[in-house]
Amino acid sequence: APMATAAERGPLILAAASLQESLTDAADAWAEQGHARPVLSFAGSSALARQIMAGAPADLFISADEPWMDAVAKAGLLRPGTRANLVGNRLVLIAPRASRLRLAPVRGFALARALGGGRLAVADPNAVPAGKYAKAALTALGVWGDVANKLAPAENVRAALVLVERGAAPLGIVYATDAQASQAVRVVGTFPAASHPPIRYPLALLKTSRSRDAAAFRAFLLSRQARAIFARHGFTAP
Amino acid sequence: MAIDIDVERRFGASVIGAQFTAEAGLTALFGPSGVGKTSLLNMVAGLLRPDRGHIRIGGRTLFDDATDLPPEARRVGYVFQDGRLFPHRRVKANLLYGWRLADPANRWMTLDEAADFLGIGHLLGRWPQSLSGGEAQRVAIGRALLAAPQILLMDEPLSSLDAARRGDIMTVIERIRDELKVPILYVSHDRAEVDRLATQIVEVGK
């Protein structure tokens, strides 16, 4: 049986790549309590969801946005009643550390002018969750039209961060967690929570789960102890 | 008749062909450059398919309407006009290539004997590309003889050898012709060679 060894090596968690550090810390804390250490596989939410829908045997899925979790749910692959929101996040405007720029992301703010001839680094707004939130926020603030053709859409939010770190883009929009983790960028401003749909990382047990530990680990992740770990990495409560 | 050949093959506009019968012994093929001597040997060896005709040698049919033996079943020993040694094998491995594949009962000679009368004993460890023209030619002769063939096809095998070496090798060819009674098809432009070796002369190209 393919997952016979899974019991000893802990449940298999498929998690969005942006949770890399925080979830690793949480898993370590869980293992310290004497449990088998969960196996963590980090990739883009889309790749992971496709693997689940192709019948891959895993225990827990943590997505970076709702649509992919919805897709898995629609395919009937979630264990009913186990879907919950793990953490939330905020969207921030960043600039290279050395930048002097001051700019509050409020209605009609002068984003296009601040960019000058440069481009705004974002995760791909047509594809990647962070990009979609960014697009929603800029639209709500009425500046999307000014900057839509001045974007540098990156493969994922970390790649957008790197563009700003390297000075390739004077400004970027990333999650607060990314900005906090980087030494090379400065937060210029935080987007109003109301300007975009709530940023939530949903998690759920999978139908294919064979691991007895999986449900307990899920509960741990939603516990106060784990919340504290995620908060340390800059995540908000969902 | 040890040899009965009647073949034809078209190349573009021209037709190559030959029709002759011959007794066992050495049949010298004669004719101007480009008339089709090499092509004829290729057909006998099974490397070139005649458009029509038959090839019978020593009682065996190598090719006719119904038969087309693959080259390895024809048991010819072919000394090519251009040597054609295996570049990735040393001289010794070239010489032994056919010898290893031959039925031990049929073998005519040992590596040492061949190396001796061809004067190539000192070349056994060399790569073919490093040989001189005449050295390569002698290795090619040795390789064909060591394969213990039932017919010998020799395409100007002595053309770049000096008189002394030529004499030695002709003596061996005579022995093969007379003692082993192997039929030989022999292409040469050298009058002296043909006079000494041939039991029969065939003019190729009608």
Partner: protein
């Protein structure tokens, strides 16, 4: 020098790359042979199919693998039912992905060498009593050796660098499918982990440098100055 975890990643990459390349070699050679030697209807199609993994973005190749070899896929489900073999989330799946990505490079290299073989030498071998297969083994194959070695190097290097198809197909599971490029990806997700990325990238480079040195040594050994001086 290396942590146990890094050793594990290197060992896995070697295993995946080595198995991928060696297992693909016969198939790749056969394809190269057929493409070099035969003209038949559908030849161009076969050629295009072989090039496919080069042309498609790796993520698409991974997705196609997932669709075909996943537990619900037409091939994957049969492998599972009939042979009890799963590729999903296994290092064997990673090797399959690497193999498919390396295939076009390996086929091309060997095809170039096969096309360069002097076929008259095969004829010479036949007249010396070698059957088709023996002539192939003793003449054609050794003469195609430069292409085979190039294919091994290219294929191995490509396997060592394979990322997109692998993560899409078999995910990023430490100890099972997390090869060097996937570990690098994970490290890249952590801002400020450039040192770790550099370290892992250098490991990749070291691996392929090893393969390169090995192949150069083999070439030198087999081609040991066969040529005639000053010609």
């Amino acid at each position: 020098m290396l942590s146990a975890e890094e050793w594990g990643i290197v060992a896995l990459s070697l295993k995946v790359g080595g198995v991928a390349v060696l297992a693909t070699l016969p198939l790749a050679f056969a394809l190269a042979w057929v493409l070099a030697r035969y003209r038949f209807p559908g030849r161009l199609l076969l050629d295009a199919l072989v090039h496919l993994p080069l042309v498609l973005p790796p993520v698409v190749t991974g997705w196609l693998l997932l669709v075909a070899f996943g537990p619900l896929g037409p091939i994957g489900s049969r492998l599972q039912d009939w042979l009890g073999v799963t590729l999903m989330f296994r290092w064997t799946g990673a090797a399959l992905a690497a193999a498919i990505m390396a295939l076009p490079l390996m086929v091309r290299a060997m095809r170039l060498s096969i096309e360069g073989i002097d076929r008259r030498l095969e004829g010479a071998a036949r007249t010396l009593g070698a059957g088709r297969w023996h002539a192939f083994r003793t003449v054609s194959l050794p003469l195609a050796l430069p292409g085979v070695l190039a294919a091994l190097v290219l294929g191995f290097a490509r396997s060592i660098g394979e990322f997109g198809a692998t993560i899409t197909f078999v995910s990023n599971i430490p100890g099972e499918t997390q090869t060097l490029p996937l570990a690098i990806y994970s490290a890249l997700q952590v801002p400020g982990a450039e040192a770790m990325v550099t370290r892992l990238a250098l490991l990749s480079v070291a691996l392929s440098l090893g393969a390169l040195i090995l192949s150069e040594w083999l070439v030198r050994r087999t081609h040991a100055e066969r040529a005639r001086h000053g010609d």
